[in-house]
Subunit: 205 residues, 2 copies
Amino acid sequence: MSHTLGIRQAQKQKTRQALMDAALRLLEDQSLSSLGLREVTRAAGVAPTAFYRHFRDTADLGVALVEETLGSLHATIGEALGDSRDERRIDRTVALIAALVRDSPAHVRFVARERHGGVQPVREAIGAQLRLFAAEVAAAFAREPESAGWKENDLLMLAGVYVDHMVMTASALLEAGPEEAERIGSLARRQLRLVSLGRKHWLDG
Amino acid sequence: MSHTLGIRQAQKQKTRQALMDAALRLLEDQSLSSLGLREVTRAAGVAPTAFYRHFRDTADLGVALVEETLGSLHATIGEALGDSRDERRIDRTVALIAALVRDSPAHVRFVARERHGGVQPVREAIGAQLRLFAAEVAAAFAREPESAGWKENDLLMLAGVYVDHMVMTASALLEAGPEEAERIGSLARRQLRLVSLGRKHWLDG
DNA sequence: CACTTGTGAGTACGACTGTTCACTGACTTG
DNA sequence: CAAGTCAGTGAACAGTCGTACTCACAAGTG
């Protein structure tokens, strides 16, 4: 049973999680580049020096937060894209984004904010994850008969539009309150339908 | 001749501009929420207290930077969108973005970064400007015969896709070096063409 | 001319920052 | 059960931060 972590390891993980949770809460109204190490430890109820047992600096913590937010999302998104009927897929995708924003708004806010933020390693971590998503979306499209005749490059282009659009929608849902969620969801679905129409006629000319 | 500012006013403007330029340079590798007042004045070669003569705080300076970056862009963008031929308009739009990024990368980086950044007043200022752009783009589309039968709401939806896409392209051009500019420009043009195809067939069903 | 106004300089303050170090005490291992 | 490991502590370091003062001086006004 190598699964059961020792008491020691378990408590370490707990402190690490406390630091990440505290950081995420503080990041709701500031950027990572202004997040102080002491600030985080204070909010987590830990001595400042304990921070170094888990992260090199706040940028390192940021990268860990990216992993936590986006790392477990690949399976979910692949599932939603598996639907072959266009209308259904759009509905499921938008619903997935809406659920994500509803259930963990702080995580989503963090990623949207730091995607172009002032901390390079975090920007790169997010960029890498999003490129991964785009590749998966492209692969899902490639499996459909509609994609016959498409160049791989163009499939990636299309996937890029989808992924960018998801991030934009998530961000819009965040900035608006829950009362506007339905309006934004409807807007997002129409935009995806527009893109989907473009896809259908891509090879026409 | 009320145009000629007094020597006094002129020097004040000069100091103000020096502060904004210094801030913009510092913001290339950090976010506004971590930008210090002293940091800015030090870089501008001015005493810390002089800052208060021009701005209430760094957030206020940020709003001024938004105005400087986006305020003068409305005319330019309207001109590019005036072209009625689809292909030409796409080329001109992408070229405009590329030129903007080439000529004032720091300004563009600032806007892309703070659009979802940690300083609320700046986020709102950027949001307001982008909504203004979207309205102008929608108005430009509305003038074309292709838009007959379109609901105003759908025109705004289409315009939103355009504006979001411009920001994304600008940001992508920033993160990649100049050697990748052509590849990203080509990608952006294909994505706009996809959207344009969707537009043509929007009323088909 | 004297007078008001506003700009920028200078100083000082208390609070906060990241990082280092020696240390404790609970858990793990032989 | 003893020895070793190591997450977390608390004190001290040299900085930076925003802000509140006072002050000199130049520009515009009557």
